[in-house]
């Protein structure tokens, strides 16, 4: 009886010390995330007017949401554009960073130099820098996007197909620049793969090609999911994102206001969660298929 009681107090003490370590975070989460999130949701159901004494809230039910979805001609178009661009970017980032990681996992001369180059964008990518570079046309795939033949080809395509391809051509380097951290994640997963598996496969007569599809790729399935999620989130939070800029501008606009911007923020969040869900399900199913 006594030892059990002791064990219980020990457990309790451990838990209390644990809470002690994360206490700061819990306070911060309530103050800087949970409370503002609830507050923003409350704003989204109101017409918010900022006055000299403070803010005035007039309850409008779901009017802000219906306005964004059915009346505002810009929001839906921007949101669809964002969804398409993200869906186009994710596979490119994943494939590209996987290829680079596979390269960097080899041993060759000047490896350090190339590693430095491929990781450079992580350090310098910021909203204003990207805006200046895009304005000068420095982020399009060199020489391809400006060819008359390409423009001619694009004009023949239906709009639904043309927009993603045009986006791909004009922001090709930009998409690649979002691959830095993903390369690292792939690299660290590659280094966790046991080398002896490759030796065993080679002894059994497997070619490098077969080893890639049967050993390397399946061992990267977790990294695929982590990277896809990371890519979607960084693209969605990037300050040059058109939806974010629209929401930001509407916050201060006369006809918009805080209530309307909050409603759009939540709709945008929903689209992002939807994208995360789709990509996650797709990759998780893929990983399951590879395992069997």
């Amino acid at each position: 009886m006594k030892t059990r009681r002791n064990l219980l107090t020990l457990r309790l003490r451990e838990a209390l010390h644990g809470y002690g370590f994360i206490a700061l975070w819990i306070v911060g989460f309530s103050l800087f995330t949970l409370f503002p999130l609830i507050e923003t949701f409350r704003y989204s159901l109101h017409q918010v007017t900022v006055t000299a004494e403070g803010i005035r809230l007039d309850f409008v039910h779901w009017a802000n949401y219906t306005r964004a979805l059915f009346t505002d001609p810009n929001f839906i178009e921007l949101a669809i554009g964002y969804a398409i661009e993200t869906i186009v970017s994710v596979p490119i980032v994943l494939i590209f960073s996987m290829i680079i990681a596979l390269f960097l996992n080899q041993n060759f001369k000047l490896k350090g130099l190339f590693r430095t180059i491929f990781f450079l964008p992580v350090v310098i990518t910021s909203g204003p820098v990207i805006r200046e570079l895009t304005a000068q046309g420095a982020t399009s795939a060199p020489g391809i996007a400006n060819l008359p033949a390409v423009a001619e080809f694009l004009s023949q395509l239906p709009r639904a197909l043309r927009n993603p391809i045009e986006y791909l051509l004009t922001s090709f380097i930009l998409i690649l620049w979002f691959s830095g951290v993903q390369i690292l994640i792939y690299l660290s997963s590659l280094q966790k793969v046991d080398k002896s598996i490759y030796e065993a496969a080679a002894i059994d007569g497997a070619s490098a090609w077969e080893a890639y599809w049967k050993i390397t790729l399946p061992s990267l399935s977790t990294a695929n999911i982590v990277n896809a999620v990371y890519t979607i989130i960084t693209l969605s939070h990037f300050s040059e994102n058109k939806v974010i800029q629209y929401i930001y501008n509407q916050t201060y606009a006369v006809q918009g206001g805080i209530g309307y911007a909050s409603a759009m923020a939540f709709l945008y969040f929903a689209v992002m969660i939807l994208l995360l869900g789709i990509v996650y399900l797709f990759l998780a199913l893929q990983a399951k298929k590879e395992r069997y």
């Binding site: 809470y19 370590f21 975070w25 390269f103 430095t116 180059i117 491929f118 916050t251 945008y268």
Partner: protein
């Protein structure tokens, strides 16, 4: 005599296509070609920026001048330096990226340590919420924060960035917490248990044993934190507007600032704002980061591979 050409063929074959022990020439050439091609595409915007920033106004107008300017022209940098108000904005940028980063790294390590070493109820919920703070877009929480800061008179002061960092809600804090969680999980517990038996307090164990052994995670987190704070403009433009002006903030209103210094009506045509000056400004903006990257790049890449940033 007859065996010689065949031997030669084998030698050629292994040279070109590789053998069991070394990769062949074809593979090597292919590898380098691809790497150089991709590397060029990667660096293209930077090269473009750098070359353009050195062009004099007459070079800009000359269609013959593409990649090699006719002279080393530094006038653009002089103008951009003044427009950016470089010494001030540079100091501001350093201030509002280094201080929150230090606090954020320390708090993230505390939280990561607590999660990795203690058993308590609700741990999975906390981990889930930490992930949520990474996913929730900033614009879903920023307006009430801004209004609260305004009420407290903190809008425009560095405290607006320091407070969240101090409470583990800084920019991308979730990633750093997960990095520390991972690296503390992978460290052996033995030393800490021995110290506990000797009667050391929890905080002391953390400070004297856990922190030194997780030093790579600290360095990586701090560096990434500085870089991300430096490059962040959405939060800074809302929280610091009217107070501190960072380099990226000044860059985003470059045109306006330029026309204040060099009013378009009064200066001669060569002093009008052109893309060369803009590119100089952009380059001055990333130059401190480039210097830091080349000094510390060993830490960026190598130790990230070892800290388990994957967060699986």
């Amino acid at each position: 005599m007859q065996s010689l050409p065949r031997l030669n063929l084998d030698w050629w074959k292994s040279l070109l296509f590789g053998s069991r022990t070394r990769s062949g020439l074809v593979f090597t050439v292919l590898l380098y070609t691809l790497l150089i091609a991709i590397g060029f595409v990667y660096l293209y915007p930077l090269l473009f920026m750098f070359v353009t920033s050195l062009k004099s106004p007459s070079d800009l107008l000359n269609p013959m001048v593409q990649w090699v300017p006719t002279e080393l022209y530094t006038g653009n940098y002089e103008k951009a330096y003044r427009v950016l108000d470089y010494p001030h904005t540079l100091m501001a940028s350093i201030l509002v990226s280094v201080i929150p980063s230090l606090l954020q790294t320390f708090v993230a390590s505390l939280v990561g340590y607590g999660l990795a070493r203690y058993r308590f109820w609700g741990k999975n919920l906390i981990l889930l919420l930490i992930l949520a703070t990474f996913i929730i877009p900033p614009q879903n929480t920023i307006i009430p924060q801004m209004l609260a800061y305004k009420e407290q008179g903190l809008l425009g002061s560095p405290w607006a960035l320091i407070l969240p960092a101090l409470l583990g809600q800084g920019y991308r804090s979730a990633i750093f917490i997960l990095i520390f969680y991972q690296s503390f999980l992978s460290l052996p517990k033995v030393l800490e248990e021995a110290a506990r038996l000797d009667g050391a307090s929890d905080l002391r164990i953390y400070l004297t044993i856990a922190v030194p052994s997780a030093l790579p995670a600290f360095i990586v987190s701090f560096i990434f934190s500085v870089v991300w704070y430096w490059n962040e403009t959405f939060l800074t433009s809302i929280f610091l507007e009217g107070g501190v002006t960072t380099l990226p903030m000044q860059l985003s209103r470059f045109v306006q600032a330029y026309e204040n210094l060099y009013p378009p009506g009064t200066v001669n045509i060569f002093d009008r704002l052109n893309e060369a000056v803009k590119m100089s400004g952009t380059f001055l903006n990333i130059a401190p980061l480039l210097v830091m990257y080349f000094l510390l790049q060993r830490w960026f890449v190598e130790s990230v591979e070892r800290t388990g940033i994957t967060g699986e």
